[in-house]
């Protein structure tokens, strides 16, 4: 079996991304497990090595055609698209946003052209990207636009062996109810089943959370559980998908052992994110699923407050790189 090839971006150059990529690649087991092609500005990467206090040996190339898996496993495509005077570490800037967006777009295109099997990107800053000329609603829609995708995608969060995805995402809480339908709940369950299966989890166990407190308390606090969520669950159960619920959303995560599931399906953003952040703020991985390119990133942000100080923990970046490998392993085997 050929080694997997994964493109990496450094994320926002003012944040902790560059130093994290260096630190993660300093893990030799991880580094030897795939071919890594970093896409970015070489000066930013050099700065990252300086901050991390590590020197990595890599092959610098100017385009993907020059990549030769026989000649090494760490490559750098230098876009040379940043002036050192245009940004400062720890400060939000349009230049950093523009640079990180361009690098990501470039990395995605390499994967789209089948030179790479997945993209792992360093933490992005939404304000910086907006200022840098990339206009979008949230990260997922940014990627979907870049990849010309209209539907069927979703954000998935993974921490250790716990997976979470949700029916609605970055919308006002007030609009959650009108965006939940039997069809959308069903499609989200099927989406979750698909992505966990892709990650080699056999017959994954899914648990759906309720919308209202106490799962509606037999209709006293809401009907959505009976009218929408339950019928959706039953329909996908009939297709052989291992799914149960709806469960009260305040206890679903701490009763995980009892309920025995791999993936929680939330109805709205905070329902899943509050628990996930408490369980491991710095270990989570975010996957943008259902797109033609496999995309993973650490769940944390750019952390401007500690950027450049070699304080940031590379754990989530390593998990993001490993998770990308899990998601592609099947495809590579099938090739």
């Amino acid at each position: 079996m050929d080694k997997q090839t994964i493109t990496l971006t450094l994320g926002d150059s003012s944040g902790i991304g560059p130093e994290l990529v260096v630190k993660a690649l300093n893990d030799m087991d991880l580094r030897d497990s795939a071919n890594w092609i970093i896409v970015g500005d070489e000066e930013i990467f050099n700065k990252g090595m300086k901050i991390a206090g590590k020197t990595l040996t890599y092959n610098r190339i100017s385009n993907i055609e020059e990549f030769d898996p026989q000649a090494g496993n760490l490559w750098f495509i230098d876009l040379n698209n940043m002036n050192a005077s245009d940004y400062n570490i720890g400060e939000l800037s349009a230049a950093s946003g523009k640079q990180s967006g361009e690098a990501l777009k470039y990395a995605m295109n390499i994967a789209l052209d089948n030179y790479a099997d997945a993209v792992v990107y360093g933490p992005l800053n939404k304000d910086a990207l907006h200022k840098g000329g990339f206009n979008f609603h949230d990260d997922l829609h940014f990627f979907a636009d870049l990849l010309n995708c209209k539907e069927g995608f979703g954000e998935v969060n993974v921490m250790d062996d716990l997976w979470v995805t949700r029916v609605t995402s970055h919308i006002p809480l007030r609009e959650v109810r009108e965006n939940i339908s039997e069809e959308r709940v069903r499609k989200t369950i099927e989406f979750a089943h698909g992505i966990l299966t892709q990650a080699n989890i056999e017959n994954p166990k899914l648990a759906v959370s309720a919308l209202n407190p106490h799962a509606g308390d037999n209709g006293l606090l809401g009907d959505e559980e009976y009218d929408i969520i339950k019928p959706a669950i039953e329909k996908v159960q009939n297709k052989g998908i291992n799914v149960a619920g709806p469960y009260p959303s305040d206890t679903i995560l701490n009763e995980r052992k009892k309920l025995d599931f791999d993936c929680m399906i939330a109805m709205y953003h905070d329902q899943a994110q509050i628990g996930m952040k408490l369980l491991g703020f710095n270990r989570g991985v975010t996957i943008s699923g259902g797109l033609p390119v496999i995309l993973t990133t650490p769940a944390h942000g750019t952390a401007f407050d500690i950027a450049g100080k070699n304080k940031a923990d590379e754990g989530a970046m390593i998990h993001a790189m490993r998770k990308a490998q899990d998601l592609i392993s099947k495809e590579v085997t099938q090739k």
């Binding site: 609603h137 949230d138 995402s169 970055h170 919308i171 006002p172 809480l173 007030r174 609009e175 959650v176 109810r177 919308l211 209202n212 407190p213 106490h214 509606g216 308390d217 606090l221 809401g222 009260p248 959303s249 305040d250 206890t251 995560l253 701490n254 709205y268 953003h269 905070d270 329902q271 994110q273 509050i274 628990g275 996930m276 952040k277 408490l278 369980l279 703020f281």
Partner: protein
């Protein structure tokens, strides 16, 4: 001075009496508070047999007669229930008594004989048959203290949460939030911790929308309309309060100690983090009752099916007593 915690005995046919006797075998509780049970001494005697506890039930008729020593359970003896009351059955007599224990608890709190009330479960049906048509404990407490603006608090080892709304559907919860309610609950949070001995409590408020609305990107201005005016009013009164912040990162920050208490907008927003942080045994706390009365409660019912069998777990009762002594006004 250790606070005196009045523990109301709940429905005598349920598990209340036995979990109280079991909970009070924990010596550390006596190191931190003076517990006194408001109930029937003969029912506690029976519970003592059930759980085979090596304690003395000490019947008193005023709180002052209590000895507050581990190994002795002081009972403010109201003598309302017959000794041979069957376990696990709805009884108007026990329902009436359960109400009267709570009413007496409120009277004792008003006269400052006790500094906090901890309630064992009552049976709603029995209480109704006993002639007291309340939906539950909280409504009795609100009625007898003439309170309208109360709130539900949860307390865990590293996190305290107070709620703007609780048992309403998610959409209704958003409707029910307004600046006045936000201000009231922020003030309740501040005053409750202040009286409990925290000289400079810090309060933080959760946003309603994902990322607290992210400057209008993920919201329709609910934070600006419903939360911020209430927060600003409290700030102008010198209350140390911040927000609204994205709920997911706020609970993480509060859990590591950045804030003393978090104001949650709706039930699951506040309950989920407390439970994820490992509060096995739940405690409900009612704050805002007039006179500053603190009331804590177990999060389970009378469990008639296992009453009198020494099966019931006392952990929630112990946590409720601990929460009561923690939040009781300190002098």
């Amino acid at each position: 001075m250790k606070p005196v915690v009045g523990i109301t005995m709940g429905d005598a046919a349920g598990i209340g009496p036995e979990i109280i006797v079991k909970a009070l075998q924990d010596e550390t509780l006596y190191e931190q508070c003076h517990p006194v049970v408001i109930g029937d001494a003969k029912i506690l005697e029976r519970a003592k047999q059930v759980v085979q506890a090596d304690v003395t039930i000490h019947s008193v008729h005023s709180v002052k007669e209590s000895v507050f020593q581990h190994g002795t359970i002081d009972c403010y003896d109201m003598n309302l229930v017959s000794k041979d009351l069957p376990f696990g059955q709805i009884s108007p007599q026990a329902g009436d008594a359960a109400y009267k224990y709570v009413a007496e608890g409120i009277a004792l709190a008003k006269s400052d004989d006790i500094q906090a009330i901890c309630t064992a479960p009552l049976n709603k049906e029995a209480m109704h048959k006993g002639g007291h048509l309340y939906p539950g404990h909280t409504e009795i407490l609100a009625d007898l203290t003439d309170t309208k603006d109360y709130s539900m608090m949860l307390s865990g080892p590293n996190l305290k949460v107070i709620h703007l709304t609780t048992h309403v559907g998610l959409l209704q919860a958003i409707e029910n939030i307004n600046p006045e309610r936000t201000y009231t609950v922020v003030r309740l949070a501040h005053e409750t911790l202040l009286r409990a001995g925290n000289e400079n409590p810090s309060v933080a408020v959760c946003g309603i929308n994902p990322h607290a609305g992210e400057n209008g990107l993920f919201g329709n201005g609910e934070e600006e309309e419903k939360l911020i005016p209430g927060i600003e009013k409290a700030q102008q009164e010198g209350i140390q309060v911040e927000g609204p912040y994205p709920a997911d990162t706020l609970f993480f920050r509060a859990g590591r100690g950045d804030f003393d208490i978090v104001v949650a907008c709706y039930h699951d927003q506040g309950h989920a983090p407390v439970k994820v942080l490992g509060l096995e045994a739940g405690v409900n706390i009612t704050v805002g009752l007039k006179g500053g009365i603190i009331r804590t409660s177990v999060d389970h019912g009378t469990a008639f099916d296992i009453a009198g069998k020494n099966i019931a777990d006392e952990q929630s009762m112990q946590e409720a007593i601990r929460a009561a002594l923690d939040l009781a006004p300190k002098k």
